[in-house]
């Protein structure tokens, strides 16, 4: 029998089986306070501090820049929806640190499976913002080549991508790209999901599969407190980072509004995955500062005071405060970032307006890689029907 690279050995289970490490830290990992003070790493946070020991002021400025840019182009997209240029937009407002922190934790060979809100992660993966608009404009069902950015298409059916991520990670294992110690070879997958998604059977099955096979995958749950109108209490009665331990997967809660802590915790989890340590569940505790999507009206179900409270924990403000206090950035830097963000937003606006509709017959494209006689015939009939119009003008 060939070598097995995957999971624990088969054979009968025993009560005395060796258990993997499933420790959960009891407190939320935080490194930058809402006021922008760098915390002395203590307790559980200390074990993560080493993962950001190499982070320079330049890196922090970069993360700041990323967060400002994604917030800016996200706001632009919301505006474009209001102007009728997009059918819908799902804003990431408030989740910039969770996304940029985790997005920056990836290596190029890692692969990300987003939901529909990971514009900040997309940015970190080099997906041009305008590319994200196709789906929301109704001009595309996807918009980019996942293999080009190691960034899967947005997934709308809640939770389903967590299984894809797990399967991809199982592929990485079979490619012997885990635990080799070669930094450019070992790879991991990060699956994004929301707090609401944790209720879906698919997500639990992803925890089962990844644990059983010890797959190199990180489940990154952005707990933004709401699933449309439903608060966390409709999904769970214990904190979500605890969900995974009963599957044999360690869980950790990180301050998702703290980009540094998020970077540290995600780096640690990805590194654990790449080195063969298996899956980790990260709960990034954050807040959806805007509506669920542009179709939503949060005033129907949550009080304004809640938002005000969370504004005090803004993910961008605290980095700015930190950089300013430390003297690591001056007004010129902040102005430059704003200018760049404005530029990107402007480009986005222009690109959105210039976006051409797909040709209608593209609805038949790529449904199959090769011929499919029945669909091909429908396409021919459709084209003939359209050609008839061109000849005769429309009916009625």
């Amino acid at each position: 029998m060939p070598d097995t690279v995957v999971g624990p050995a088969g054979g009968p289970d025993r009560a005395d089986q060796v258990e993997p490490d499933t420790r959960t830290s009891d407190s939320m990992i935080q490194m930058l306070t809402p006021e922008g003070e760098r915390l002395e790493p203590t307790g559980a946070a200390a074990e993560y501090a080493s993962h950001v020991a190499d982070v320079t002021d330049d890196d922090l400025r970069g993360m700041y820049r990323d967060m400002v840019i994604v917030r800016r182009f996200d706001a632009e997209a919301t505006a474009l929806q209001r102007q009728g240029e997009l059918g819908l937009w799902a804003s990431l407002l408030g989740q910039e640190a969770a996304q940029v922190g985790s997005g920056r934790a990836m290596r190029s060979q890692d692969f990300a499976y987003p939901t529909y809100r990971e514009h900040g992660v997309a940015w970190c993966r080099g997906v041009p913002p305008k590319t994200l608009l196709g789906l929301y404009r109704g001009a595309s069902l996807g918009g980019w080549d996942p293999a080009e950015h190691n960034f899967a298409l947005y997934t709308i059916v809640i939770g389903s991508q967590t299984l894809h991520a797990t399967g991809y990670a199982m592929g990485i294992q079979r490619d012997h790209a885990v635990g080799t110690g070669e930094p450019d070879r070992d790879a991991a997958v990060i699956a994004y999901l929301g707090d609401g998604a944790t209720s879906q059977g698919d997500v639990s099955e992803a925890l089962v599969f990844s644990a059983v096979y010890n797959a190199p995958v990180v489940f990154f749950c952005q707990n933004n407190q709401w699933a449309i109108s439903e608060p966390n209490t409709r999904q769970t009665r214990v904190p979500l980072y605890k969900r995974s331990s009963g599957f044999g997967i360690p869980g950790v809660r990180v301050d998702g509004n703290d980009v540094l802590a998020t970077l540290a915790v995600t780096r640690a989890a990805l590194e654990r995955a790449r080195s063969g340590g298996g899956p980790t569940f990260v709960e990034a505790y954050t807040y959806r500062m805007g509506a669920h999507t542009t179709s939503d009206d949060p005033s129907r179900y949550r009080i304004a005071a809640e938002l005000e409270e969370w504004k005090l924990k803004d993910p961008i403000a605290r980095v700015k405060a930190y950089l300013a206090r430390k003297g690591a950035a001056d007004e010129a830097f902040f102005a430059d970032v704003e200018a760049q963000a404005g530029e990107i937003a402007k480009e986005l606006r222009t690109a959105c307006r210039a976006m051409v509709d797909p040709p209608p017959e593209s609805m038949f494209d790529d449904v199959y890689a090769g011929p499919h006689a029945v669909l091909d015939a429908e396409r021919e009939e459709y084209l003939a029907y359209r050609a008839g119009f061109a000849d005769e003008g429309t009916h009625a």
Binding site: G87, L88, Y116, G134, L135, Y136, R137, G138, A139, S140, L141, I156, V157, I158, G196, A197, S199, Q200, G201, D202, A227, I228, S229, E230, R234, Q235, S295, R300, Y301, D357, P358, P359, P360, S362, M363, F364, V367, V374, L375, E378, R379, Y382, Y385, G388, F389, T394, H395, A396
Partner: protein
């Protein structure tokens, strides 16, 4: 009587059913404070409380599965799938559990569960929000499947569905939620006689002599418009049959019409291949073989995934495609 939107008509119907029968409970994602993404359950949690209008965890299999249990305990759950594309996680519970229970329990267990699904396209939505999944349910023995096309029908049919002792898949034509019509607000369905029509009957929405057009849900308005256009054109006098019930089909009404006109066109948004048109064409050619002047024609969505919103109008049957089929069926 008052002019009411189709969505609101369902809301009023739900309220009437809940007033009438304390065992009626609503379940779904965001149906409470938000009133559902289409506001169909607006105000009901406020008035009936959280025990009867239940905001559920985000898990459709869980919603239908727990509804089965609630029904076994004597409740009449009305569950909402937020969109057509999200009924599939619940498919196993619907097909293997909900549909089969009456038969396998020899009638000892009845599951009066209504599965409400806003369905169909035409609202410019992102993917998974414009599906027409009726075939999956009509093919499944043990389910009843209905779809209203007007506010008045919506008002009565939701109450009839709730009163029905069997599971009913209730397909709501979401692009028509805002269509207005007269609804007898204040009326309550106490017995089936209260409703103007039985749940499983088709309705001849427009009489005509030349072609029978079979449609349901969102396509009824399109077909009526096409029939008017054909009349104005002088092309044909089209009879439009609003099927209303997809399982069972009201075949006597269908066949009576086709025997008179000798021609039939079926129209639906669902993909052509094994859409309802297939079943209707198969039945019509069998029952009306010697009456048919032309083959039964089908107009439907294409046998491909629902496309991006910018081109959905080309995917969906519209006035022109329906009229084209009328022309073709008359050309025989």
């Amino acid at each position: 009587m008052s002019s009411t939107s189709l969505g609101k008509a369902i809301n009023i119907g739900l309220r009437a059913a809940m007033d009438h029968d304390p065992k009626v409970v609503l379940m779904g994602e965001d149906i409470g404070a938000l009133g559902g993404v289409f506001r169909v359950t607006d105000g009901l949690q406020k008035d009936f409380g959280e025990d009867r209008v239940i905001d559920t965890p985000l898990a459709e299999s869980g919603i239908v599965g727990t509804a089965v249990g609630l029904a076994m305990r004597g409740y009449r759950p009305v569950v909402e799938m937020q969109f057509d594309g999200f009924v599939f996680p619940a498919f196993d519970q619907i097909v293997t559990q909900l549909a089969k229970m009456g038969n396998r329990s020899a009638g000892n267990v009845r599951l009066p569960v209504v599965v409400r699904i806003p369905y169909g396209g035409g609202i410019g939505a992102v993917e998974h929000h414009s599906e027409s999944p009726e075939t999956y349910f009509v093919h499944t023995g043990g389910l009843r499947v209905v779809s209203p096309s007007t506010p008045e029908d919506a008002f009565w049919m939701i109450q009839q569905a709730i009163a029905c002792p069997d599971p009913v898949v209730f397909l709501e034509p979401k692009r028509r939620y805002w269509d207005k019509g007269e609804v007898p607000e204040g009326s309550v369905l106490r017995s089936d006689d209260d409703a103007p029509r039985r749940l499983h009957t088709a309705h001849v929405a427009r009489s005509g002599a030349d072609v029978t057009m079979l449609c349901y849900g969102p396509m009824v308005r399109t077909c009526l418009a096409a029939a008017e256009a054909a009349a104005q054109d002088g092309t044909a006098d089209v009879e439009v049959v609003d099927l209303r019930s997809l399982s069972p089909l009201d075949l006597p009404t269908v066949m009576a019409s086709v025997r008179r006109t000798g021609r039939a066109v079926v129209v639906h948004e669902a993909p052509l291949t094994l859409g309802l048109g297939a079943e209707l064409a198969a039945r019509i050619q069998e029952s009306c073989f010697y009456h048919l002047e032309a083959p039964v024609l089908r107009v439907g969505g294409f046998s491909a995934p629902y496309p991006a919103a910018k081109i959905e109008d080309e995917y969906l049957p519209d006035l022109d495609r329906v009229l084209d089929a009328v022309d073709r069926v008359l050309a025989h």
